[in-house]
Symmetry: C2
């Protein structure tokens, strides 16, 4: 049992408010006046969630993007966010971080409203948190609504960010679409809004297609079969499309595409790639070239 | 110019949303549906905002209390909060932290809704953030509304937490009311709700009476005279009530009492201690035993 699992178990035993959704969802939901507020918060830690050599503007961008992606999965409209910032001691670094953060926030009309700024003791890893709030006006899909017979889709290919991370690790000056996918993920807010009224289940891909699909299957009490691992041209060009590459892509994290289920026969209202289907039963099956393949021991990024 | 001042200046130049209040207030205000949400966020850092030897339950309590205190200053009703937690690697420590956090949250009917949990690299100072949301249903005093002629009050004595910190620093096992004041500050939520409709200006005392009163004077474009520094019996017993002790108490932080202004002749609807008055002009005057005394070079905790 991991530290975090034990901690969440301890938290769950204390948390009684319905809005917390038992801490099993990516967001909390709070009725405020005649509206519903969707809340999410992510912390990124130097050396854990980003590489110390990553450009600060990309770190700022990513902090915004991962939070916006959680709102996207609920079809929520961004209304405001709060930043907890650990000063770097380097004004140019701080300015570049804010540039990247605001670039991502501004692109999605997300106002930064306040927060707190602290100094860390010398030698400490720095961490940054963003708490994002969105407003849900209509249907709000959870990860637990998938039904036998549904078809499964993603809003884009998977695995690019995983390869991008490998490239950035071996060469901090690496660039190109795969590194961009890792450093500048695009939260699918427009797609989320359009999908929310129709998707029976929806979540963003943060930890990897396999593990996130397995979570959707478990939460929905259904079986999920993935029969297509969509790869980008950039990834195929860099690594080919062997079974090993497809499995690696399906367990790579940080893609931030939306994974969603639609009733059989429904056409997605956004550009999307069919990747499988939902049936009665439990568990996850991965098929490559028409044949079931053994699942890897570690399905994705567990934390 | 401090790091944080430079950072806030940079942020202010980018932040355009009215709800951010130009980052000059302790809270942000967000209209949601037919309601107003009051938002605040505080981060505490090991070795900066608390002593590594502090009992974890007290650290958890304090994180909740400082955020609740910001809501108290607006007369806002707690509606929910999000926690960003750095795992300690010690399950008993984490459990004790959560105990203290929940004790403070439960006492004020503040639901914990979610957040994020991270691991820090070995050797790093840990930090914890809480983002608290409240709902304002009526008048919401700012720090900028004090008027010439107003009388100034606090909801309790000042300086206890400052002495408590000294005692805890020299002896981690120290106890008693002064150490309690430092480790278990009481946010004045009930008082804040009762005062909000009447106070022309209100704020919580986090950095010290002198510096916080100077900030109220500046924000309100008035002069403030403090003619009484209220000391607790515990503090007088420990340190006496000399001019030096009074000045030290007035520049000590972490009290979390409410500082508020009422029109002349109005009676506070809560237990409160009169400490001075507002007049036209600018700046802060401190009078002890009827005579103005020179202000200390550092008015309080600046960060």
């Amino acid at each position: 049992m991991s530290d975090e699992y034990a901690f969440l178990k301890m938290l769950r035993s204390r948390i009684v408010h319905d809005g917390a959704r038992g801490l099993f969802d990516d967001v909390a939901v709070l009725p405020v006046g005649d509206s519903r507020l969707v809340l999410t918060s992510d912390t990124i830690v130097e050396g854990v969630h980003y590489l110390p050599a990553d450009p600060p503007a990309d770190i700022g961008w990513k902090l915004a993007a991962v939070n916006l992606s959680d709102l996207a999965a609920k079809g929520a409209r961004p209304v405001g966010c709060m930043l907890n910032y650990a000063l770097s001691g380097d004004a140019a670094w701080d300015a570049a971080f804010l540039d990247g953060l605001h670039e991502a926030l501004d692109r999605h009309a997300m106002p930064l409203l306040g927060g707190d700024t602290v100094r860390m003791p010398a030698g400490s890893a720095r961490s940054y948190s963003l708490t994002a709030m969105g407003e849900a006006t209509g249907a709000m899909p959870s990860r637990s609504g998938a039904q036998a017979g549904d078809r499964l889709f993603v809003t884009g290919p998977v695995g690019d960010a995983g390869i991008g991370l490998e490239l950035a690790r071996s060469d901090p000056t690496a660039s190109g679409p795969l590194v961009d996918a890792y450093r500048r993920p695009r939260p699918r807010l427009a797609e989320g809004t359009l999908l929310a009224p129709f998707a029976t289940a929806m979540m963003d891909l943060s930890d990897g297609l396999l593990i996130d699909a397995a979570r959707m299957a478990q939460a929905s009490d259904v079986a999920i079969t993935i029969d297509h691992v969509p790869l980008s041209l950039a990834l195929e060009k860099a690594r080919g499309a062997s079974t090993a590459v497809q499995i690696a892509a399906a367990r790579a994290g940080d893609d931030y595409e939306l994974l969603f289920a639609l009733p059989r026969g429904a056409t997605p209202p956004v550009r999307a790639i069919p990747i499988g289907y939902v049936s009665s039963g439990t568990g996850l099956t991965l098929m490559i070239d028409g044949a079931a393949v053994p699942l890897p021991g570690r399905l994705g990024w567990e934390h």
